[in-house]
């Protein structure tokens, strides 16, 4: 087992190196540089920039370095724990990313918990009451959930919340709490703001997983060992929850690996609509501003998250299913 984890970790590092190289290449592809964006900004504000100052800035940002040199500089600094200073603001990249990543992770984690808590029982109900009215209703809602992209759902909820409940939804806190230290009132305010985000994030994933859960459980319920369990005289509820669900849950566990990073990055658009301070919009801004160090770092971090998520899912799967443990 340890051997296996070690092998996976090494493989992960190799992949991350490849991802960082390719990712960095893609990110610096767009014509123009961060300097152009900066200079344009300066000129818009009315200032003209002298030629030699531009030269100095170019040198400082390494604008004219060949790609490989840029990449190497970035990697060297990242490896030293210094993710660089974003061109866009003067904050350090690390600090900015962590601040945002924590909000993203928190939201995604809640969304994930919500997804599981809802999709498993509903999927089980739907499978055990196949072809009944509630099953049709659940199926219909699932399709709606799959069909509405998250950001559109966010938009719709935003309208309803504003129009009918007169609730301020965007952002993470109401304006009056913005600069206050954490308190119960602020926390409650945050909950009021974030439940929509969690709901929106979880909705699509919940719809998908409910469907998967239903299909799997239907498969498992046809298995001989379910009859064996029934033949023992077990209560149907025990048969379902102890014997069937445990075997039907594999894909859900596997989805954990992809779901967490997907939720973390999937909120890009939702966050855009709800103006949440998460990692997605930050990545987008970095791309737009051609802030390649920031964008590159986020990309590699998300990729690491994805790979770690997959590894965790595989380990969890081995724990759930003894057959996998041997391999």
């Amino acid at each position: 087992m340890l051997n296996y984890i070690a092998r996976r970790l090494i493989n992960m590092i190799v992949l991350l190196v490849a991802v960082s190289f390719i990712g960095f290449f893609i990110i610096q592809l767009p014509p123009g540089t961060i300097l152009d964006v900066q200079l344009q900004k300066l000129r818009q504000m009315g200032g003209d920039v002298p030629r030699d100052q531009i030269k100095a800035l170019e040198l400082r940002y390494g604008i004219n370095d060949p790609f490989v040199v840029k990449y190497w500089k970035w990697v060297q600094r990242s490896a030293a724990g210094d993710f660089g200073t974003s061109y866009l603001t003067d904050q350090s990249v690390g600090e900015r990313i962590w601040g945002r990543l924590s909000v993203s992770l928190g939201l995604s984690l809640f969304a994930l918990i919500f997804t599981w808590l809802v999709s498993i029982p509903i999927g089980v109900y739907s499978a055990t009451h196949r072809y009944t009215t509630p099953d049709y209703i659940v199926t219909f809602i699932q399709f709606i959930g799959l069909a509405i992209p998250g950001f559109l759902l966010a938009l719709i909820i935003l309208i309803f919340a504003t129009r009918f409940f007169n609730q301020q939804v965007g952002g993470i806190n109401s304006s009056e709490f913005m600069d206050q230290p954490m308190s119960l009132a602020k926390f409650m305010d945050m909950v009021r703001h974030l439940w929509i985000a969690v709901l929106v994030l979880a909705f699509g994933a919940t719809a998908g997983l409910t469907r998967v859960m239903r299909a799997n459980l239907l498969d498992v319920l046809n298995m001989q060992y379910i009859q064996t369990a029934r033949a023992k005289g077990l209560d149907e509820a025990v048969v379902i929850w102890k014997h069937a669900v445990r075997n039907a849950i594999h894909p859900l566990v596997m989805s954990l690996g992809t779901l967490l990073p997907a939720l973390v990055v999937g909120e890009t658009l939702v966050a855009q609509v709800l103006s949440l301070p998460t990692i997605g919009p930050m990545y987008l801004d970095a791309l737009r501003a051609e802030d390649m160090y920031l964008a590159g770092t986020i990309l590699v971090m998300l990729s690491a998250l994805l790979l770690i998520g997959n590894l965790l899912a595989d380990l969890l799967l081995a724990w759930v299913d003894p057959r996998i443990r041997l391999e």
Partner: protein, 370 residues
């Protein structure tokens, strides 16, 4: 007392019903028809794509025609006046307090709707130049059946024009990714060994990218001022590049299973060539699966285009797609006051939903046990 069964004459075969003898595809069609929702989804899509083909003919105006007299204009009212189907001229006034345009229907000025009128020039199906449009009103006035946007552009015309991109981009992207995925997946699963290993490494690498950020970075790298056709093509390629890996994996799995099936072994034993085995045994067996996965990938691709355009990284104005239109509907103020701006959202949801229903129905029909 024993009766020897073998000495007795043959009895007629039993009245075997036709259940076992219907061709496989007919059984699939039969099963597909059972699912009313999926059949409904299929019809909705047929209608939508038909409308798309005739979109220029059905659209009364060019999708970029501006008319400040109709900024945020409401959907036109239709009544029968003097025996003619008519709409009415609008009186535009400015609400000084809220800074909004107010429109009053001028009942005294009916505008009869003319059918088969001459309008802007377009190419029908991209080939035949034409100026014919289904309907229109007198020049100098505008009919906005579904309202107008902030510049007075006709929402109906934009929806129709936008369908040309929104309904095809995702579709083409998925078709390309299905082709790549099937070829690569089949090669990987059939030949195995070093080829398989290499392909799997590449797929693994591509899949270690979180897809949405990769999507965004690739889209951000697209040239900003390229013509719409080029952008369309490039976005299609992005969808294909990101999408093929999943399909390749699934096809590989299927092909590997079929490769080990007895009938493949029999074909190998009989001296079947690689080409023969792949085209006769592996592809036909995997085909239904490929179609299902493809159908279910289309709505996701449509969603991706919308998302990109919404973020300003996909299709860019002056071209129009439903995503571009959703971008206009971004502000709460816009949608609460002008609800018709949400129509592209509705149309998108219906399209995506129909594709999911169709795909789900095909999957159940193809493989009732999955």
């Amino acid at each position: 007392m024993a009766v020897d069964a073998t000495q007795l004459p043959h009895t007629t075969a039993t009245q075997v019903e036709d259940v076992g003898q219907i061709p496989q595809w007919q059984l699939m069609v039969r099963r597909f028809r059972k699912s009313k929702l999926s059949v409904g989804g299929m019809y909705v899509l047929i209608v939508m794509y038909t409308i798309m083909l005739f979109s220029d003919f059905l659209a009364p105006y060019d999708h970029n025609r501006l008319d400040s007299n109709y900024a945020w204009g409401p959907p036109s009212q239709i009544k029968i006046v003097n025996g003619q189907v008519s709409t009415f001229a609008l009186k535009q006034t400015l609400d000084q307090v809220r800074l909004q345009w107010l429109y009053v229907v001028d009942e005294g000025h009916p505008l009869p709707i003319h059918f088969f009128v001459q309008g802007y020039e377009y190419r029908f199906l991209g080939i035949f130049p034409s100026k014919l449009h289904l309907f229109g009103v007198e020049d100098g006035f505008q009919i906005n059946l579904l309202g107008a946007d902030k510049d007075g552009k006709d929402v109906l015309s934009r929806l129709l024009k936008g369908s040309q991109i929104s309904l095809t981009l995702g579709f083409v992207g998925v078709v390309i990714s299905v082709i790549i995925g099937s070829i690569v997946g089949t090669a990987s699963g059939y030949f195995g060994g070093a080829i398989d290993n290499m392909i799997q490494r590449v797929i693994e690498l591509l899949r270690s990218f979180p897809d949405i950020p990769l999507f965004l970075s690739l889209a951000a790298a697209l040239p900003q001022n390229a013509p719409v056709e080029v952008r369309f093509f490039l976005i299609t390629m992005i969808i294909a590049v990101i999408g093929w890996t999943g399909l390749a994996r699934e096809v590989r799995g299927k092909v590997m299973a079929y490769r080990n099936a007895d009938y493949t072994a029999a074909s190998v034993a009989a001296g079947g060539s690689h080409w023969h085995i792949i085209t006769r045994h592996l592809i036909p067996n995997s085909l239904s699966h490929i179609i299902v996965v493809g159908t279910l990938a289309i709505p996701a691709a449509i969603g991706s285009e919308t998302a990109l355009s919404f973020l300003g990284l996909g299709i860019l104005p002056p071209a129009v797609s439903w995503g571009v239109m959703v971008r206009d509907a971004q502000t709460i103020e816009a949608i609460t006051t002008y609800p018709w701006m949400l129509l592209p959202v509705l149309v998108l949801i219906i399209t995506v939903l129909s594709f999911y229903l169709l795909g789900d129905g095909i999957r159940d029909a193809v493989d009732p046990y999955a």
